[in-house]
Amino acid sequence: MMQTNILEYLEQTVRRLPDKTAFSSEDGSMTFLEVYDGACAIGSRLLRDGHYKKPVVVFMKKRPETITAFLGVLYSGCFYVPLDDEMPRYRIELILKELRPAACICDEATLNTARGLDNTGTVYVYGDIAVGEIDLRALEDVRLRQIDTDLIYIVFTSGSTGKPKGVTGCHRAVIDYIENLCDVLKFDEDTVFGSQTPLYFDACLKEIMPTLKYGASTHLIPRKLFMMPVKLVEYLNERRINTLCWVVSALTFISSLRTFEKIKPKYLRTIAFASEVFPIRQLNIWRKALPDARFINLYGPTETTGICCYYEVDRDFSEDEMLPVGRPFKNTDIILLDDNGRVPPKGGMGEICIRGTRLTHGYYGDIERTDEAFVQNPLNDKYRELIYRTGDIGRYNERGELVFLSRKDYQIKHMGHRIELGEIESAASAHGGVNSACSVFDAERNKLTLFYTGDVTASELLPYLKEKLPRYMLPHTITPLDTMPYTPNGKIDRKLLASQAAESLPARDK
């Protein structure tokens, strides 16, 4: 029978491997049966309280219980919205105001914060609702009414106007994604994941879903270890972790600090990475340390559910070469389109557009921005066929592999996070002492600079930005200007500012 709900992954595995550890963190671990029971109890409770087909916020630390809460929300027919305890309060308030969730599930660490927030809906404590009575009939009833285009989650990404965008993922798209991801990466029951990415992005699906599907296991790595490379590798070895799906900056953190001279990962066999271009020098350090491991470059925007293209490193690269993003997963199609909505000639540049079941339902509560990004395929004027315009510019190399070149707009990637420079500028401009603001990113040095004019000092502006922006969006340098430079057609001269930001730093051999 065709699978229509991701909970079927859990339900099949719990019968086979009830007592195997599914997820673990520094605070404890949970077996598949514990996850299943907890999720069913949470689902039953939400249903009893009348929540159905509504957003439910999960506001918890990174721990196995958080994943159980996600699944519990799905059992009720609702969809989960992960928020992180490290997000600044202002951002959380902005999201809640937009979202108006039916409920919010917290843990002891976040309860006090949650109680002080507006628009949370009913506040539940995980420990209270994960042990309640399970009403199997009610859960079955919900399942009978569910279809595979119903939502699973909303994850929030940076928005250029200063308002975060909530991307809506559904069962069908996630199943399509996970089945094809598993085929390419060859996960199985013996896969042991070391999870690096936070749970509030769709990136964590790469570990959570295959774990449920195969009865594999996932260790949620403590954030603190990503400041201690030797201890991080010791952790991988102690837990016999054999598979990583990390952001590039977490991998280069290990290799650039010459960790392998001291210690090597003993069990790693599959290393997948996403979110940024992997610098070849760093990749080569990894490949030399682990000559028998598979290295796979993944590419894909949140709007088309996780990852949609992959390239398995199958040859040597020199430092001036670009690692391709390769080709789409089965059942996903990539179209390159030029500025006139036409396919560029062979080898030519174009915007990467994605076609397939993978497309999410767009941005929650924002039909207008959804319609700008999810559009009718311009190559087809005969029937309705949506494509997602990524804003990424790519081309095919002479081997026929897709290569990512640049962005069309001011979206950047920093430390694995997707950031709209406009969101930083909009936060700065909201300060009464700022007249104009422009932020630029130096990809080579990984450095965000904010330029502004106004009568506030840089050290006064920084604490203000800290209240509004997540840590990864904070500029590393804030520079006041007497006047903002403009181009002849009246736009802020970003190129000039970018070269100014680059000149202020000594060149570094990275």
């Binding site: 603190k224 990503f226 400041m227 201690m228 490379p229 030797v230 201890k231 900056s249 977490a250 953190f253 650039s256 600090l257 010459r258 960790t259 001279e261 001291k262 210690i263 430390m415 990984n446 840089a458 050290s459 920084l462 604490p463 800290k466 840590r471 590393h476 340098t477 804030i478 000594p506 570094r508 990275k510």
Partner: protein, 75 residues
């Protein structure tokens, strides 16, 4: 020590690095900061901090980091 504080201030102008003692444990520095500090220390002092020295005890305060740099430059 002043040179080191200037490097740290550059990363987080609002932190009192002369007094803070929980830069890692308190979440002031993140992994991006650690990578930057290692590179800056190499530039400014000619000292390469080996991976095994990247532990909270050496990074929790400017004083501890300063002691680490001195120890490494003696070797």
């Amino acid at each position: 020590m002043d040179k080191l504080i200037a490097i740290l201030k550059d990363l987080h102008p609002d932190v009192d690095f002369a007094a803070a003692t929980d830069l890692i444990d308190g979440g002031v520095l993140d992994s991006f900061d650690v990578v930057t500090i290692v590179a800056e220390v190499d530039d400014a002092f000619g000292v390469e901090i080996p991976a095994e020295e990247l532990i909270p005890e050496n990074f929790n305060s400017a004083e501890a980091l300063c002691a680490l740099i001195e120890r490494l430059s003696d070797d």
